[in-house]
């Protein structure tokens, strides 16, 4: 392509990644998915409406479709792949499974990232606050009911752990 190509580095999930000769116009979502082999962030609307591509950029929840990858140089990027590890699910991931919050699963990675962010900053968010916090993450399969149940389960478990009360 005749357009200016750029080579740069991104720090993702505590690891350095190199982007070789990328087109300057590529979004962070595209670079994660197509250049760096991190397809966890999904592409459902590519205009910041659906939240499927949610990642944390320096600890701030963003739609990676609306961030230029080259603009994320120097930032600390965390994607769904950087939560938990292949052998250990996070409490949010486990609760999504246990409560039936996963159907097609396309929105799931974005919701998992969003909820990690929410529960870190507002561990006691009430149901309306949870609804508002995830209203930027569209899900077409579940009607959100099992997702609310998953959030409530995580909040219960964390509260019990915090208060030193063993689970029932």
């Amino acid at each position: 392509m005749e357009d200016q190509s750029v080579t740069y580095g991104l720090r993702i999930n505590d690891r350095d990644h190199g982007v070789q000769a990328g087109w300057l116009g590529e979004s962070l979502l595209y670079v994660l998915r197509e250049r760096l082999g991190l397809p966890g962030a999904k592409n459902a609307c590519e205009q910041g409406e659906c939240g499927s591509c949610s990642v944390l950029l320096d600890g701030v929840l963003v739609c990676s479709c609306c961030v230029l990858a080259a603009d994320a140089v120097g930032s600390d990027i965390r994607t769904v792949e950087g939560l938990g590890d292949p052998d250990t699910l996070t409490d949010v991931q486990q609760a999504f499974l246990d409560e039936g919050a996963v159907q097609c699963g396309f929105c799931t990675p974005g919701l998992v990232v969003t909820l990690h962010d929410l529960l870190e900053h507002r561990p006691d968010a009430d149901e309306l606050a949870v609804r508002e916090a995830i209203s930027g993450n569209l899900c077409r399969c579940t009607g959100y009911g099992r997702i609310f149940a998953a959030v409530a389960a995580v909040q219960r478990q964390r509260a019990q752990a915090r208060d030193g009360v063993s689970g029932v």
Partner: protein
């Protein structure tokens, strides 16, 4: 008549993670980790990116297409048009009337004209822009009523199907008559995972396609015909599907991507943008309906008359079956001795329409339930009592003349939906008010309304279609020596959870705990479509039957080893229970592990549902296998001055036959209700002059977490005779009667005669007869 409740034992006790348990999805872990491979996640070394050029006009002639400028762009590998299609020029689910690429005539905005493959998606996009098409726009045919008699816009004519359902006496009437006209707007399935896939040429003239679809085998047949290949040269494998809801029944990019791959000799990947997705798949048919109900003064329905016109858009898709459903279920789940329904599905230059969850029943349910409310008002009768008074029951005759021989718990659904407690009064956080985060509604102006609706539809394919599914089940010793079962079935997993059910069924039938699933592909026989609420019954039935065949072979093997007469006595003396083969009289046992010492046992079963029959000239015939019912009560808060609605609660009773995985059933109910609520209060593809005005998630709104009401559900379990495990499909009923229930509630809150969905703020705020 008689009791609808079967007493057949449908589960075997003591099976861990078997049928009836809340078993977790086998694909759940990769899905929560972001590792699950969706069709948009595919990657191959050296792959190219495909992109489609689509018509900006809803109706036009193509004078010429010049691809030379596009071909000269660095990085562009090939540009293809209609002239490059090597096989059949058209395809279609039921009628092959849709061109792979438009050659000379454009019949809808977004119709494919050309496709390119390039080494970067941006290059492909620029190449598409560089293709010069000389269009001569013509006036689009956009009115479905006009289309019936208008000059044909396609050689196959403008009427996809016209049918009548004539039952009872045409002159019958009664003391109380109510009449109304109703409209349903065009809803989009709006699955989250866009159309996408990858085609890889095999170097020998054939192609492998990894694709998100609802039915691999019909895709394969259509792709092979258009490519001029033998079906055996086109192999499809299901890639992860990000929802479907009917929109993946038709071919979208399948032929294009395979053609690009064969022409370039390289893997080609395509992903539609959200905007392209709105142009790239069929939608729910917009409907215009006129109804007249006749009833005695005690509320007994005497006659229902209906005229239904569905706008099928430019190509046939599944319109002929959708209009059949709209007509067959036009009177609702009620006993009606006299019925006259006339329906049309027509071709226009509007976006093509086809399958969406509820499939025709959604449209007529909105109308017949509005009519039932109107009738109740005219009779000064409670609308729920009116429905209970007329509710269908087993043994009743439908307007098609078919007698209901299975379960029909209509009364139970209604009673369950009414039994749940109502939500708290309008109060508390303004986030809960109509308008939500806008915080615009004023407590003083909020009125609450409660509404009710009941709906039903058929399960599986109807009208004589030879509907079947195929499953292969293999049992062998795994690497650790323990019994392992493997299921091979082409049923498309869309998120609904068939993969979970398949494992549960094998555990229940064979007592094997470890059950693996092979990828769904065309190497095994067809499983039919993941639509029409059919896979639990059909592919569930195929897996169950294949397990029964495996069990027979295992018992024969043990009988031979032990010198037992195989013929006749085998069934009585040997049993496979909980993974152990037992001689019932002698008491000795053989573990499954030992029985598998001589090698694996594998059986393939093709499972057919009972034969159905086409509807005759009067719309009469036993066209359906089974029916499924649900009732919904909706509670809404409305600020009429602002035209804002908040749906607070949906309470439902749903006929499920038998819940094979209650957790998954609840997920289907909540998700289906979300789509029904969406159709009531926000979801519409706005089409003006044949053009879509809102092809994005910014402008086409689907319910968010803040829009979603509380859902309270009761599952009505009456095992369906003849159904594997007694289970009915559960995906569609939540979407059918939730919409009219919400509309009924809004009417109750506002006093307005609302006859069109979705409701818009102007319909309330600017209504001339607003309170």
């Amino acid at each position: 008549m008689g009791s609808p409740v079967s007493s057949a034992p449908v589960t075997r006790e003591g099976v861990r993670d078997g049928v009836g348990a809340d078993v977790l999805r086998p694909d759940g872990i990769p899905k929560v980790q972001g590792r699950f491979g969706f069709s948009s996640d595919l990657f191959a070394e050296g792959m190219l990116w495909g992109r489609t050029l689509r018509s900006p006009h809803p109706a036009a002639r193509i004078r010429s297409i010049d691809t030379s400028a596009a071909e000269q762009i660095a990085g562009v590998q090939v540009v293809v048009t209609a002239a490059d299609v090597p096989g059949k020029a058209t395809y279609g689910l039921e009628h092959d009337d849709q061109p792979v690429f438009a050659a000379d005539v454009i019949r809808y905005q977004g119709e494919p004209v050309a496709a390119v493959a390039a080494d970067h998606p941006e290059v492909a996009w620029r190449a598409v822009q560089a293709i010069e098409v000389d269009y001569e726009p013509v006036d689009p045919l956009i009115d479905s009523e006009v289309a019936i008699d208008a000059e044909p816009i396609h050689p196959d004519g403008n009427v996809f199907r016209h049918l009548r359902i004539v039952h009872g006496h045409p002159d019958a009437t009664a003391d109380v008559i109510v009449e109304g006209s109703y409209e349903v707007g065009m809803q989009d399935q709006a699955f989250m995972g866009p159309e996408s896939g990858m085609a890889i040429p095999d170097g020998d003239g054939g192609v492998d396609l990894y694709i998100s679809t609802q039915w691999l085998h019909v895709d394969r047949d259509q792709v092979a015909a258009c490519l001029g290949l033998d079906p055996a040269q086109v192999r499809l494998t299901l890639a992860g599907v990000g929802g479907a809801f009917g929109a993946r029944e038709d071919v979208s990019l399948q032929v294009h991507v395979c053609l690009l791959a064969l022409r370039t000799g390289r893997p080609v990947k395509m992903i539609y943008s959200r905007e392209e997705s709105f142009y790239g798949h069929v939608h729910r048919h917009p409907a215009r309906m006129h109804y007249r109900h006749h009833a005695d003064r005690d509320g007994t329905l005497v006659k229902v008359e209906a005229r239904i016109v569905l706008d099928g858009g430019a190509y046939a898709s599944s319109s002929t079956a959708v209009i059949a459903n709209a007509c067959a279920f036009a009177a609702g789940p009620y006993r009606v001795p006299h019925v006259y329904v006339e329906g049309w599905a027509v071709r226009t230059n509007n976006p093509p329409c086809g399958a969406m969850r509820g499939f025709g029943a959604v449209q007529s349910c909105f109308a017949h339930e509005a009519q039932m409310d109107k009738l109740a008002a005219a009779l000064d009768m409670d609308p729920v009592d009116l429905r209970l008074h007329n509710a269908l029951a087993p043994g009743d005759t439908l307007p098609t003349g078919q007698v209901i021989t299975g379960t029909a718990p209509v009364r139970e659904c209604i009673q369950a939906a009414m039994r749940h407690p109502l939500p708290d009064d309008v109060d508390g956080d303004p986030l809960q008010f109509p308008g939500g985060t806008g915080r615009t509604a004023d407590r003083e102006h909020i009125r609450r309304g409660v509404g009710f609706a009941v709906g039903f539809k058929n399960l599986m394919f109807s009208e004589g279609f030879d509907d079947y599914s195929t499953a292969a089940v293999r049992v062998e010793r795994g690497p650790d020596g323990k019994p392992t079962a493997t299921v091979h079935c082409a049923a498309a997993e869309l998120g609904q959870g068939f993969v979970t059910l398949a494992q549960q069924i094998v555990r229940t039938e064979l007592g094997v705990t470890r059950v693996q699933l092979r990828p769904a592909d065309t190497a095994v026989g067809s499983a039919g479509s993941s639509s029409a609420s059919r896979q639990t019954w059909m592919s569930g039935g195929a897996v169950k039957a294949a397990c029964e065949d495996v069990r027979e072979r295992l018992l024969e093997r043990v009988a031979q080893q032990r010198g037992i007469e195989v013929r006749g006595a085998r069934r009585e003396v040997l049993e496979l229970r909980h993974g152990v083969i037992e001689h019932v009289d002698a008491g000795w046992t053989v573990s499954l592990t030992d029985a598998l010492a001589d090698g694996p046992v594998e059986q393939t079963h093709e499972y057919h549902h009972p034969k159905t029959h086409p509807l005759d000239r009067d719309g009469q015939g036993d066209a359906h296998v089974s029916f499924v019912f649900a009732a919904h009560r909706a509670v809404v808060d409305v600020d009429s001055e602002l035209g804002l609605v908040r749906v607070r609660q949906i309470s439902t009773g749903q006929d499920v036959g038998k819940a094979l995985n209650p957790l998954q059933v609840v997920g289907q109910i909540e998700g289906g209700i979300a789509q029904g609520v969406g159709l009531a209060v926000m979801e519409e593809i706005v089409v003006d002059g044949g053009r879509i005005l809102n092809p994005s998630f910014t402008d086409y709104l689907i319910p968010t977490a803040l829009d979603m009401p509380e859902v309270v559900a009761t599952l009505i379990e009456q095992p369906e005779p003849g159904a594997p495990f007694g289970a009915k499909g559960v995906g569609e009923p939540p979407t059918i009667s939730s919409t009219p229930a919400v509309m009924s509630a809004i009417r109750a809150a506002t006093g307005l005669d609302l006859t069109r969905v979705p409701i818009r703020p102007d319909d309330l705020a600017l209504a001339p007869d607003r309170d």
